[in-house]
């Protein structure tokens, strides 16, 4: 029999249903895999081996017995949750995030916490206080970020399902660089309760999986209104697996002319263009569209996101949880010393940038200006969707870069988010799926974007492409 760790959630579900495998056998197989590999990959910051002693009894659950790796910024009751930061060392949440509660209610098993850039600030997983995660396709390269641990663990078959969070591409970019599937749902589709906030108007939790069907299965469980998150939206959740039809006849796919720009890697460009031709062959209509404010997206994002982050991170002051600097001379000194020693370099950089953009004399020039340009970027999508049902772009302008390559140049790191951040600014859903490999055998990702609350079109297009190509079945040699 094939090793259980190699299987997808839907394949395991079928086997569990026929009593061919038990949840504890799946966990044993995974633990062995993790033991063999994770010293090299470092996708996990904590493995909860005790979960094998608490297999859920609810055999009717939609995800009964399926292991899930959780990004370290999502609260799991009584399990250390640190956002990859020293300042939250030792924090054990007294409650489950809504997504965790829903997964547990359906019989899924959280197996541990995944590495991430500190507070999700980064595109490479290098800013984590635990050190970088490695890309399973080339251990000298970054897995992408910030959900790098979740994506690397899926790519190396160290987990069956994973949760990530996406503020500017943090699910899609690592999924792309690791050759797996990652979905950022519409803002408001999935509850953010229990997600430690980075930028509250941009953050969304979503699935990182081995294939499109698993992402749909996971969305069936985690999506939906939650009274604990007043920005979650009360719209009925469809059965997303019904969108897995392998039929895109008549689908109008927009290709934005602004996305094939100077600086995009030639191999990435040609893979994505090949994907567009294939979708056309499969029956879609290709429409050239324009998103004229694309060139302003990175600037807008790097004002809005750090501004919100600097405000959200004010709560880390050594009073309620995590690290505290001892022997401070007074309260203010305790705040200052705690934050200066607790936060890493990138977190400090974003807090400083955000505070600057919000401070007197700069607020109108930066924060308010960025909110206005955000309106223009959102209008670009509203206009584009008058002529198409979904939009296709590369997920990332390049394949995975080398560890350390961009650490001294934050701006060049920020520019690697150029294709993903607009979806967060506009609040629309977007998925990244594998669409090829470079000559050096590094995965390339294709991004599909759709109208708000139209994840079904994403699933339909993504599933059709995936089933017609099979890139998702390639595995790294480990």
């Amino acid at each position: 029999m094939q090793e259980p760790y190699l299987l997808t959630a839907h394949e395991l579900q079928a086997k569990i249903g026929k009593d061919e495998i038990s949840p504890s056998k799946i966990l044993e197989s995974l633990f062995k895999r993790i033991g063999d590999l994770d010293k090299r990959i470092k996708a996990f910051v904590r493995l909860n081996e005790e979960c094998i002693l608490k297999i859920p009894e609810n055999k009717k659950g939609k995800l009964y017995g399926i292991p899930v790796l959780v990004k370290d910024n999502i609260c799991v009751k009584d399990e250390e949750t640190t956002c990859g930061s020293k300042i939250l060392k030792g924090f054990k949440p007294p409650y489950d995030a809504t997504v965790i509660k829903r997964l547990k209610d359906e019989g899924a098993i959280p197996i541990g916490k995944a590495n991430m850039d500190e507070f999700a600030f980064g595109s490479s997983c290098e800013t984590s206080c635990y050190g970088p995660t490695k890309n399973p396709w080339d251990l000298e390269r970054i897995p992408g970020g910030s959900s790098g641990g979740s994506a690397a663990a899926i790519a190396s078959d160290e987990t069956i399902l994973a949760l990530g969070s996406d503020t500017g591409g943090s699910i899609r970019q690592p999924a792309s660089l690791c050759g797996v599937v990652g979905l950022k749902p519409t803002y408001g589709r999935v509850s953010r309760y229990g997600l430690i906030a980075f930028a509250s108007s941009l953050d969304q939790i979503g699935p990182i999986t081995k294939d499109v069907q698993d992402a749909a299965l996971m969305m069936n469980t985690i999506a939906g209104y939650d009274e604990m998150d007043s920005t979650s939206v009360d719209i009925a959740v469809p059965d997303y697996t019904r969108s897995l039809t392998k039929d895109i006849k008549g689908l109008r796919i927009g290709v934005p002319k602004e996305y094939f720009i100077e600086g995009i890697d030639k191999e990435v460009e040609s893979s994505v263009k090949k994907a567009v031709f294939l979708l056309k062959d499969l029956g879609a209509t290709i429409v050239e569209i324009s998103l004229p404010h694309t060139q302003y997206a990175v600037s807008t994002y790097y004002i809005v996101a750090p501004a919100e982050a600097s405000s959200n991170l004010a709560r880390f002051d050594g009073v309620q949880y995590g690290f505290r600097f001892e022997n401070a001379s007074d309260l203010i000194d305790m705040y200052i010393k705690t934050r200066s020693k607790g936060f890493g370099n990138e977190a400090k950089r974003r807090i400083l940038l955000g505070t600057y953009c919000l401070s007197t004399g700069y607020y109108d020039a930066y924060y308010l200006k960025a909110q206005k340009v955000r309106t223009k970027i959102k209008e670009d999508f509203d206009n584009a969707f008058k002529n198409c049902d979904c939009i296709i772009t590369p997920t990332s302008p390049t394949a995975a870069f080398k560890i350390g390559e961009k650490m001294d140049d934050p701006l060049s790191m920020y520019l690697s988010d150029i294709f993903t951040i607009s979806a967060n600014l506009a609040g629309i859903p977007a998925i990244s799926i594998p669409c090829g490999f470079t000559k050096g055998n590094l995965p390339i990702g294709l991004q599909i974007l759709a109208k708000p609350f139209d994840e079904e079109t994403l699933f339909r297009a993504a599933y059709t492409f995936e089933q017609s190509t099979g890139f998702h079945r390639e595995n790294p040699k480990l």
Binding site: G90, F91, K92, P94, Y187, G188, S201, S230, T231, V233, H293, Q295, Y296, S299, T300, Y302, I303, S310, G318, V319, Q320, Y321, G322, R324, D330, L331, I332, D333, Y335, I336, K337, R339, S340, F343, K348, R349, I351, L352, L353, T355, Y356, S359, T360, G361, Y362, Y366, K369, A370, Q371, K372, V373, T375, K376, K378, P410, L411, Y414, L425, A426, I428
Partner: protein, 116 residues
């Protein structure tokens, strides 16, 4: 507070001296953020933030006089109210168990008011 200084786009990505965010501003922003920087850090952050700020100044190219700001992607979502019903919240002991220091039902912090 430091006054606004015009930022030269031509300073470009490597711009250090002529852009609008300098060491003095970074120092004041760091204090507002309750973060302490040593001389070397101040040097590095000033240089990096200057280069980022000179890049984000690109937004000045767009005329936004008549454009309303978007603070939130769900335009339809206005104030959200819940029914005023008492509900059980988290147990105090559970909430306090993560505190670096506590006393009774409270978080404990260094002395705020001087007593002589």
């Amino acid at each position: 507070m430091v006054s606004y200084i015009k930022i030269s786009l031509s300073a470009g990505r490597q711009g250090v001296t002529r852009v609008g965010i300098d060491k003095k501003i970074v120092k004041s922003v760091a204090f507002l953020s309750r973060i302490e920087l040593d001389e070397k850090e101040l040097e590095i952050y000033s240089r990096q933030l200057a280069s980022i700020v000179s890049y984000i100044n690109k937004l000045k190219e767009i005329d936004t006089k008549t454009v309303p700001p978007t603070s939130h992607p769900m335009a339809a979502l206005k104030n959200v109210f819940r029914k005023d019903i008492l509900k059980k919240s988290l147990e105090l002991d559970d909430v306090l168990k993560n505190a670096p220091s506590k006393e009774g039902d409270s978080f404990k912090v260094p002395q705020i008011i001087e007593c002589k």
